[in-house]
């Protein structure tokens, strides 16, 4: 065999391998398709709960049970998150020591923008959540960051969510492979079993919404972040998205990661994206 026929044979084998694999070279068979994912995700829940309207999924466990829905309507007359809302509004409008304020850090002075968070920052190459953006704003203005799991952060995000109530989640995935990777990482985290109980997020919020776990009714994953932050009777206080994620991990006997670690940011990105189109309803109240 001469050199030319050897090259032809090698090229032929490569082409045959590509044909057998059934995918174009350079494109993996399981390339993420967020649009198809979101469609399938929303269809799964609307098929599973045909009596619940798409918009009502943002009310979590209250959308799953008529009695609880009535209780929630009554609760909303004097919502337990109201004090946090007032505190958040006051904090948001109070200038920093340097005279600037949160409004200076956000588009539209921070009003009515919750539905656009988290977003993928192409400059940084990472997902930026609202909680992270708030602390970055504080630090950029010489203020110490707040704890991601305590009342101050919950109050600020409660106020910002309130100014976005009714606006549909509008999470974008830019044409950047890193953004798609972050989305896919978030999806993987959501479905990965962890902790000694061997639960994934999906175990409770996809396989078992509407079911009881002890005294609680599990919320559906669809729309679960639209109501954040939430007042939880179990916590006797407000909780941020960071608090929700870390607590979920502890409850299944997994050591939580640090709030705003990449995994949690990506998880929030994925969960928010698949709830695109559903209205912001935060701050919320949960049992």
């Amino acid at each position: 065999m001469n050199v030319r026929s050897a090259i032809h044979l090698a090229l032929g084998l490569v082409a045959l391998a590509a044909l057998v694999a059934g995918v174009p070279p350079g494109l993996a068979a399981d390339t993420p398709d967020p649009v198809a994912d979101a469609r399938a995700f929303q269809k799964f829940f609307t098929d599973k709960f045909p009596k619940v309207t798409l918009q009502d999924f943002v009310n979590g466990p209250y959308s799953m049970n008529e009695d609880m829905h009535r209780q929630w309507e009554e609760k909303e007359q004097f919502p337990p998150y109201e004090f946090a809302l007032d505190m958040g509004k006051e904090m948001f409008s109070k200038p920093f020591t340097n005279g600037k304020s949160y409004a200076d850090c956000f588009p539209n002075q921070g009003i009515g923008i919750r539905q656009n968070y988290p977003y993928f920052d192409e400059k940084e190459g990472k997902v930026v959540t609202l909680e992270l953006a708030l602390n970055r704003c504080r630090e950029a203005n010489g203020e110490p960051p707040f704890s991601y799991v305590k009342d101050e952060m919950a109050a600020l995000t409660a106020y910002m969510a309130f100014t976005s109530r009714g606006k549909p989640f509008d999470i974008k995935i830019p044409n950047d492979p890193r953004a798609l990777e972050a989305y896919q990482n978030g999806k993987r985290y959501f479905y990965t079993r962890r902790g000694q109980l061997n639960f994934s997020c999906a175990t409770c919020h996809v396989q078992s919404p509407g079911e009881r776990i002890r005294a609680e009714v599990l919320a559906p994953a669809l729309g679960i972040l639209n109501a954040m932050p939430i007042y939880r009777s179990e916590w006797s206080g407000m909780g941020t998205i960071s608090r929700r994620f870390t607590t979920c991990n502890s409850q299944i006997r997994g050591v939580p990661l640090n709030p705003q670690d990449d995994e949690y940011r990506d998880l929030e990105y994925y969960l928010s994206y698949v709830s695109n189109g559903l209205p912001i309803s935060g701050p919320g109240a949960r049992p």
């Binding site: 399981d30 994912d37 399938a40 995700f41 799964f44 999806k187 993987r188 479905y191 990965t192 079993r193 962890r194 902790g195 000694q196 061997n198 994934s200 999906a202 175990t203 996809v206 396989q207 502890s250 006997r253 997994g254 050591v255 990661l257 995994e263």
Partner: protein, 106 residues
Amino acid sequence: MSLVRTSILSLGAALLFTSASSSLAASSEVDFKAAYAAAEAANKEAGGLRNQWTVTAAALAAAKKAADSGDFDKAVAQSKEAEALAKASIFQATSEKEAWKTLEIK
């Protein structure tokens, strides 16, 4: 014949004695240190996979507490439990690298 029987019985008794005495032997600080180091190494590996379990940390803490109070039998037992839990968390993280896809909504 009776000599053979006596020898077999003696051997059996000796084996029983050896086995009983080894299981009754008290663990030492050296045993604890070795068992604890193995558990810590496994838990560190789980940390690298971002998948530590709270129960592993609790077993490690219990092992240390037992060792501090001089109860090395308990300290070794807790260390071994911690190591087993850490290894289970490593197995979970490794198998979930592909297994998560089976739960995905499609």
